[in-house]
Symmetry: C2
Subunit: 203 residues, 2 copies
DNA sequence: CTATTTATGTATTGAACGATACATAAATAA
DNA sequence: TTATTTATGTATCGTTCAATACATAAATAG
């Protein structure tokens, strides 16, 4: 089974990675409802039939974009969570890195999933549910890591509350980033947030 | 100058408070972009020309709704912040009450302003800026209260970071509420959040 | 070559959007 | 009464929305 990249018909003139990056940037900045197909067409440099042939619909394209985003940043999150064995250090580093990530770089501010479709028309309930499900998965990921390192937490610590707290921090910091607060301001907030961390049993 | 309620032309058949409440509920639940004029017309029980004659435009109506909302809940927030002289108690009570407010009652979940238009098309930048300004005002309100009670905080406490932290908590809890977490879950999160509060000088 | 397959570009589609024109109804003012 | 003012109901306006029809272009298969 050799790599059969060459298919039969007329070859595509676009690079899938590039056009998905362009779509991601738009959805990230403007949200699902705030991004029109025309905006996407222009940014992706494609014609409408090509977009629909390649991705199906606006909703399917958004879902595709969300998947790529979740994979990219979710993997980064997971790697960082498990790179440091000391739980508090791991969480602290993660929160600080996200403070930098949410405010820096050449991409829109805030987390695309944390800020995604908090309000929406009933027509788009299922799309919004998809985003909400990804937030729930993130909370579960936090919970799993806390459980794995629960020996470094006081006995009886409410792991769910702590996981939800972390999700709250990411979401809240995302909103602050959207409002224009810079990296330094978010790092200061993340310092405050980490004070809430329970004392480890060893003091 | 007696109360001159009777004006000249044909009297209105709607109660302004009632229709604004209906509009608030819709905007709160669905957001600005997710709420259509048709939705509003139906919910308010008015005809399109009446809505436009009374409120000007969808944008102006949204702004009016935001003002009423900010007045209602902003005043509640302010009152609560100053009712309790002990700063930590005041903040703790406030966060707990908001945990209940964001998840309970007969209204949509989460704070309308905290969740308002984090993403939007460029066309609606000025409307989104209006919401962002109200969030900024809330952060300033927190800052003012902290400054007033700064004698109950360790010297050198970063008041801005602490105020931003509180705004982050409200915004993050709002998102959790939208995701379906109940009052108990949010109260547990608010307990974690308050652990981050600095020790007062008196121990 | 011809047939088949896939992608593209142009020009639209029907529906929903925010917002109004227009005629009518119901009040006060003179 | 008649004139004026304000609100209402119906029936749209032009625009933008997401999505396609259709003809054409560019590749492989036989």
């Amino acid at each position: 089974m050799e790599k059969e990249t060459r298919s039969r018909g007329r070859p595509r003139t676009f690079d899938e990675t590039e056009v998905l990056d362009a779509a991601t940037c738009l959805f990230w900045e403007r949200g699902y409802e705030g991004t029109s197909i025309k905006d996407l067409i222009d940014a992706m440099g494609m014609s409408p039939p090509s977009v629909y042939a390649a991705f199906g619909s606006k909703e399917a394209l958004y879902d595709r974009v969300l998947d790529r985003y979740a994979e990219t940043f979710g993997q980064m999150l997971l790697r960082e969570l498990h790179a440091e064995p000391d739980l508090k250090r791991a969480i602290s580093a993660l929160v600080q890195d996200w403070a930098r990530l949410l405010t820096g770089g050449s991409h829109p501010k805030g987390c695309m999933i944390s800020l995604g479709m908090p309000t929406h028309s009933p027509d788009q309930a299922s799309i919004a549910q998809g985003v909400a499900n990804r937030r729930a998965a993130t909370r579960q990921m936090f919970h799993d890591r806390l459980e794995a390192g629960s020996d470094q937490l006081p006995a009886g610590t409410d792991l769910t509350a702590l996981a939800n707290y972390l999700a709250m921090v990411i979401a809240g910091m995302s909103m602050l980033a959207r409002d224009g607060l810079d990296t330094a301001a978010l790092l200061a907030v993340s310092d405050v947030a980490m004070v809430a961390w329970p004392q480890s049993p060893g003091g």
